[in-house]
Symmetry: C2
């Protein structure tokens, strides 16, 4: 059974349990065994220390075959930092890593619309810069180039919404598309395994 680590910030939602249960149900429908934050669905909830939560996620990441990470922007321009950590961690472990985002705009557009909303961007220096002089990464990628770059270097893929859904924190259309593609890649023997060096 192929184990898939479902990384993402859903654990923080007020309705985390039903959303995460639905994500696990869909993963199983494609033949994957889901793991990761909140996957202990049949256990009595207990309050865990940060070190305990870290340790459980560390173990689950090492045991998993695949990561599918939700990098929809969380409280700002970029993905949830816990999720980004997990992407880097699992790429270094040479797992097959995929990501999806419900935001159709690339990182450079989001820096303009979310962080520098309405402020003038300096396009004169060869690199676009905010009014604070800080350069805006402009590679057309879904998030910081290390995230997209790492996923692509392992043979994975970043799936991006084509339009902004009504409820980006909960919408599962792009997640479903990602599961379908990963299942098809594995059926075709195009399963990414080892990171390109």
């Amino acid at each position: 059974m192929t184990t898939i680590y479902l990384a993402g910030p859903e654990v923080f939602l007020p309705d985390a349990m039903p959303i995460m249960a639905e994500k696990r149900r869909l993963a199983r429908q494609f033949g994957f065994e889901p793991t990761g934050p909140g996957s202990d669905e049949n256990q009595t909830p207990v309050k865990r220390t940060a070190a305990e939560i870290y340790s459980r996620n560390d173990t689950a990441m090492r045991r998993a075959d695949i990561c599918l990470a939700n990098i929809t922007p969380f409280r700002g321009v970029s993905a949830d930092p816990g999720t980004v950590y997990e992407i880097g961690f699992m790429i270094a472990l040479e797992k097959a890593v995929f990501a999806y985002t419900n935001h159709p705009d690339d990182y450079g557009l989001r820096v303009r619309s979310i962080w520098y909303a309405g402020l003038e961007i300096d396009e004169t220096s060869g690199r676009p810069r905010g009014p604070d002089g800080i350069a805006i990464e402009n590679h057309g990628m879904a998030d910081n180039l290390m995230i997209d770059g790492g996923v692509e270097a392992t043979g994975g893929k970043v799936f991006r919404a084509t339009t902004f859904p009504a409820d980006p924190a909960r919408d599962l259309a792009v997640y479903l598309q990602a599961l379908q593609t990963i299942a098809a890649m594995r059926a075709d023997g195009r399963s990414p395994t080892k990171a390109a060096r």
Copy 2:
């Protein structure tokens, strides 16, 4: 020679070159050979593709012994996502990973002051939640618990400013304190090497 990978968002600053040169100079002063983004200081600058930048950083991370990451909040509540990726990546590779931040407040306080600025926080459900219902991580850590948790699991340390400096994007006092501590740990044979499993 111990190689130290200097992760952080300084590369985006308008005065990136002198700041990064000063960080490398200080690292050398403590006996470390600096590497990482922008460390090709004696080469003619060339415009690189995202894949080329990823590949150079990947190689530098694999070759380095230590990571010292600047997790000072970047355009929002949390650290630069590229830096967070590199922390996760180097922890999985069992490097000795350290981080520092020029923001004295923990993550929970910053979510309140930066993201929900002035809005009421719901403290009634057992977990603090923003007006959007999204839970605020409340472990007293510098950033998302995966970052602090991962660094601490390897025997590393997160260094935090005690007061907010005048120029948090450039201040090097906590960076210097981190270098001193890492050098002292290594001199004492307390050098973290392998991640706790």
